[in-house]
């Protein structure tokens, strides 16, 4: 603080160069530029390391089988030979030998879209009540719900599976039949709720109280307030949590393994890919193409919607 006069000159470089002879400031500026250069260099190195593995796989997925297995993908720069055969192979419906990824791809969509919507609707309703409802024990209950993140998925799997197959069944009739999407929807919704409620609550609680009070005075009930005020105002948070939930569900393997019953009818693409990898780990031409087929949707969502990501979601929760 004592250096204020000098620093004022810092803001006006021309003046300073004249008055101090230029040397020390020059040095300082050079040093500053250098540090920012090292920083930039470090950033570039990190970016390259983070990108190359994916890039290598991407290149490989377009190389003929013999080339993938024979030499490294970096050889494409001298030996340009590309093919779409790998993709044709993994996507074509065929016998049991065929990866047949297209139908698993559809399964993934059928699991993930409803799973995301259920979590969003139920989560935001509960979040609204925790933020603006008036009832006793609210804070305690909220902390309890937050703390449920403590329960590892793994702990809930066996009992939940038993519940679906035994308890929710009347005789042979199962309320949530095994080998259908319904079990996966319910399981994903349950596992997504604690985080959904927590994050959405943070956002919804930040909505100015006057708006809600005004609506109340006008005689609006909770449903009206929720649909007319909360949902529109919380759209950024809903969208960004929805995107995250979508990606998580798309990328899930564990829940799918347990609840899909392993059947080709409902298993998502991640499960099929894991199988391919286990049984024929050497078939790089199928694995590389298959991996990219499974990434198309998440990468499209990611690059298309990335500006909605964190901002909306964290606006309420992460202040300092």
């Amino acid at each position: 603080m004592s250096t204020l006069p000098l620093e004022n000159k810092d803001l006006l470089p021309d003046v300073k160069d004249d008055s101090t002879g230029g040397r020390p400031t020059m040095q300082k500026r050079v040093r500053q530029r250098l540090t920012s250069r090292t920083a930039t260099a470090a950033a570039v190195v990190i970016a390259v390391i983070w990108t190359i593995p994916t890039f290598g796989l991407f290149i490989s997925s377009f190389r003929p089988e013999d080339n993938i297995k024979g030499n490294g993908w970096w050889n494409v720069f001298t030996d340009r030979e590309f093919t779409l055969e790998n993709y044709a192979d993994v996507l074509s419906p065929g016998g049991s030998q065929s990866p047949n990824l297209l139908s698993y791809f559809v399964n993934s969509l059928a699991i993930v879209i409803p799973g995301t919507i259920f979590t969003l609707v139920l989560g935001s309703m509960a979040a609204y009540m925790f933020a603006w409802g008036r009832f006793r024990g609210k804070d305690g209950l909220f902390i309890f719900v937050f703390a449920l993140q403590i329960v590892p998925l793994q702990m809930a799997l066996i009992p939940l599976l038993q519940l679906f197959t035994r308890v929710l069944a009347i005789g042979d009739f199962q309320l949530l039949p095994s080998g259908t999407y319904a079990q996966l929807w319910v399981a994903h919704t349950i596992f997504g709720l604690p985080l959904a409620i927590f994050l959405l609550h943070n956002f919804i609680a930040e909505i100015p109280g006057e708006v809600i009070e005004a609506a109340r005075v006008d005689g609006a009930g909770h449903s009206t307030i929720f649909w007319r005020i909360i949902v529109p105002l919380a759209t950024p948070a809903l969208a960004s949590f929805g995107i995250f939930q979508f990606l998580w569900l798309w990328n899930d393997l564990l829940v799918a393994l347990v609840f899909s019953g392993g059947g080709a009818d409902v298993a998502p693409i991640t499960q099929r890919l894991a199988e391919l990898q286990g049984s024929r780990g050497g078939e790089w031409q199928r694995l590389t193409a298959g991996a990219f087929v499974s990434m198309i949707i998440p990468l499209a969502v990611f690059f298309g919607l990335q500006r909605y990501f964190v901002r909306g979601l964290l606006a309420g929760g992460l202040k300092g």
Binding site: M155, A156, L254, L318
Partner: protein, 296 residues
Amino acid sequence: MLVVDRAPKSGREKVQIAGFLAPALILLAVGLVFPALQTSYLSLTGRNGEFVGLDNFVWMFTQPEALVTLRNTVIWVVLVPLLASSIGLAYAVFIDRARGEKALKALVFMPMAISFVGAGIIWRFVYAYKGPEQDQIGLFNQILVWFGQEPKQFLLDAPENTLFLIAVMIWIQTGFAMVVLSAAIKGIPTEIVEAARLDGASAWQQFRNITIPTIRGSLIVVVTTITIGTLKVFDIVRTMTAGQYETSVVANEMYTQAFRAGEPGRGAALALILFLMVLPVVVYNARLLRKQKEIR
């Protein structure tokens, strides 16, 4: 929804509150609270559901393989949050207000969008091994060869193979840390930064004395989230080594015991251990949350 609003006037509020909360709370009770209790009981039973007391836990802490699993989990949970958060933070600071910031962010964040299974394939390819006399197809071994070294079986040799699996998790989680922390850094009021600069604070001093304290909350959230995610890590181990060659972790072993080996009791015991490991992390965060609420 409309039905709820038409409930009789007295107690309508209560009915509405219940209507909003009930679906979520019932699902949570049925899907998490009750299963957690049941798993706790299951951990005390044997293969055929008979009561065996603490046998499963004795097994866990005496069998060498089970002990390796526990050790690996500890290594994972120390290294992943630490490295992913630090690299993410450094990167966020480095690229703050740099040219092409958005593109640079996208590159590092991209692994978040890729499934663990996809990441497993990507990295198995990076680690792929061929005999010394053959052309290498894995990048890491090619680099070793370029430097005149023998190619290496990255995923087979314990204990360092665990580290190579951990690298994959760090690769995935760094982007998450980076994006959250970058948003927090952007939230630091410019006046504070300007004032520090006027006081002649160096870049490092600014970082230590302003950036870190201001984004502390976000930092805690990031570390917590990654820690919990790491404790439950399953897919990477499953798809890259299936837990062989001494790389298993608790979450993977739990699946193996419960669904492959027909030992639900042991699986449940492992899940319970996982629960105990997550417990302190969540308790700490719940405390913070309560404090924040009191301030409000």
